[in-house]
Symmetry: C3
Subunit: 344 residues, 3 copies
């Protein structure tokens, strides 16, 4: 439970009503009960607001004065916020954290030797954990999760069923890893020898920093030497492939089915659209935005927006695509000119 | 077992021979035994037909009269059908259904509280099932399958090893889900706040209707609010990504490694080639056909055939690609003309 | 342990120093201890070589004479080799093989009936194995691996956590399969019948030959009839999709997120860049090289290098892309010429 005053502080909003009203949870306008808080993104929800039974509301700062007057009678208070959607995300996250109840370690989990596991974790049925693993407070491992040897997992981490963390990996705090994710599998490296591919041992590790989320069936390979690293606050969608020795900065967004080849460095605040391919051994500067389905062959300086395969400045790519669509006609015109010139 | 008469009715074919002959199974021409039925797709298999030991055959309606006279002596009957391949698929499916023998619930499966599970299921070793799960008759969960809380699974469903169904999902009847599939993982949604990506809770569900098949390692995200839905009879290949709030109609075909971004609506009888990317928040009309490796940025009306990235009407795309291949020569011709004009 | 003489033989190098020195392992220059061997790829590592504590070294044949004179005093010997990186890969692989210690079969693994499993295997917690499975010597199955019925797995195989092998598959010797891999799932095949997709039973198998490595979350479908086959020594990266009845030759390299459609035949020594799509029912000749993100629609003769989507000879593709980038300007020039001609 949180008081309205606590919530207003959390979302940096302006509270009108009972500071001490105790809120038990957050829900949508049609579902929120009298103890819960709800929210409206804009005045188009005015009717739903009137009809709702929520005990409290979060509304945008520019919510019209006349609608404020028409708020439901049962309301204990409302908070005016800059962005109700962000406020919803913040409050929902806070309730989820507060609602966490550790279930302990299932007797059917297999735990290795010399592990250090906090008392207030949830480790579910059929989880296997290797030797010398460290697991922080309030971390949840769902059924069938596999943790290799010498792995370190921080606090408030949630790992969904059947995800696999290979040996030696380091996972920060407040990390979420979805089902089918594989972290720390061998990088793809071979040396040619007498017509055969001889495996180069992949002896490095993977480090996932705080507040990272990794989507279902994404793969992150361990480094050949050293580290593959994903920076703080970066969010990765489903079925993304991150090769060995890649470094990804902070607060990046990487959409589904993108692949990043070996040893590439991605800066901070980079946005990568879905199904993009990024070459190995290049650098993508801070704040770069890459359109979906791009093929990035060369390094990109900070702040650029690119698109296409090969990736060019995005506006140029759009112009080229517009010209391309007319190419058969352009070509036809050219032959006509050529013919007429010859005819002269 | 089925009689020849029953099989003829099932495949809507014309039976010649013993109506009461009891067929124990279906097999290829070289493997079928005397109690089994086999099939030939066209007369190029005439020699294999002569040599086969099958007790019965399914043949195309236009099977030549002289070859009918030369059928093996041991044959108890044959059925003339419109499409022997379809007949094979129907009969094989029917035998598979009849041959199902429930193995019960393994003592090593972990079952939650307040579940409702039919008596005639097969739930294998190391399966975990959350609280309040409903499972219908003749459903099979292979080893390591994970079912979250409040999931409903219909009848005659088969879920292969290590697939994961997150909480709240609904799975229809006669659905097949292959290994590594993840259904109901969180949609990819964040709100920007002070330079950080704040997670928007994904509180919706996934609904999979009857007769859907989902290939290995495909991912289907739960909705932010409401539902992500896959319509009746739709078949999805391996490693397909379906984002939150996507709606897919009935009887679609979606080939491997395709990605569909959030909130897009796909109609009925849509065919999508492999490695295609489809933008979010657009509509693909009924009966649309999309070539492999396409990039669909905008909505497409019913019945269109498109290809390329960006996707254009397929025939136009092929013309553009033909022109594109000659582009360096076209360009050269242009400079020559320009030069000659200046020379005048 | 291996003697320096044995190692020199293994890497076909020229030994200087104590033939009988016993080497306990291989490590990087900064980590190798006095009993271990290390290596330098070229003279830029001269300072690290001087500072290292390794008992022995592998150096390139052209290591400068003056640097040889400056090798650390504690060194028991060094081996001059053609390619130190290859030598490292070979020696590390040999130590890994020698260091294997079977852990036996966990009492929490579920083993089917009529299996034949060698005594010196490692079968970990929560592994499930179907009936009539054959497993060779020194093979490791990590936690949560699922093996279907009638599977044959060779010697010195390693299968990482939560990989799944469907029934009937054959896995050769020295094969490595990473987490989340699915082998033998149903091929994607349906017959149209009255507006529905009727499943064609996929009754074939998958065969993986010796010395193959398969990356995390890759999928290999079983054949409709007959086999899907991956040839000896071929290396496959993460999230690759191989459809039913595909045949891949020997010693190929297939980079991440590539998809190969049904019944296609890939020759020997083929290199396929990442995120490539290859059409079904075509042939790729021996030694073909395909650039990343290509779309291969038609068969390719032996030895060709192709790129692009659609894939053309790679040099032509690069020329086309260079022309394409200038296309808006080219088009503009054309209209200017047309206009000036009209003006005459």
């Amino acid at each position: 439970m949180m008081t309205l005053k606590e919530i207003a502080g959390l979302v940096e909003g302006q509270l009108n009503g009972s500071e001490e009203f105790e809120v038990t949870g957050i829900n949508s306008l049609d579902r929120a009960g009298t103890g819960e808080i709800s929210f409206a993104v804009n005045p188009s929800y005015a009717e739903a607001v009137k009809a709702c039974r929520a005990g409290a509301l979060m509304l945008p700062e520019n919510w019209p004065q006349d609608l404020l007057a028409a708020l439901p009678a049962g309301l204990s208070g409302y908070i005016l916020v800059k962005d109700p959607y962000v406020a919803y995300a913040i409050v929902a996250g806070e309730f989820a954290r507060k609602d966490f109840k550790p279930k302990g370690i299932s007797p059917t989990a297999w735990i290795g030797r010399d592990c250090s596991i906090s008392a207030d974790v949830s480790i579910s049925d059929g989880v296997s954990i290797g030797d010398r693993v460290w697991i922080g407070s309030r971390t949840t491992l769902h059924p069938g999760v596999r943790i290799g040897e010498d792995v370190r997992i921080g606090e408030d981490v949630e790992i969904f069923p059947n995800a696999v963390i290979y040996s030696g990996s380091g996972i920060g705090n407040r990390v979420t890893i979805h089902s089918g994710v594989v972290i720390g599998s061998d990088g793809f490296g071979y040396a040619q020898h007498r017509g055969r591919h001889v495996k180069i041992p992949q002896t490095g590790i993977v480090v996932i920093e705080d507040d990272v989320e990794i989507g279902a069936n994404t793969t992150v390979d361990r480094a050949a030497f050293g580290e593959t690293r994903i920076g703080m606050g970066t969010k990765i969608d489903n079925q993304v492939q991150i090769a060995h020795n890649v470094t990804i900065g902070r607060h990046c967004i990487i959409v589904a089915q993108t692949g990043i080849a070996g040893s590439t460095k991605i800066g901070n605040y980079v946005m990568i659209g879905g199904q993009t391919g990024i070459n190995g051994h290049i650098e993508i500067g801070d704040g770069v935005r890459i359109a979906a389905m791009s093929g990035v062959a060369k390094s990109i300086g900070p702040g650029e927006t690119v698109g296409g395969a090969p990736a060019w400045p995005h506006r140029h790519w759009l112009r080229v695509m517009a010209s391309l669509k007319k190419l058969p006609e352009t070509e036809k015109t050219l032959w006509e000119i050529k013919k007429s010139l010859k005819g002269e």
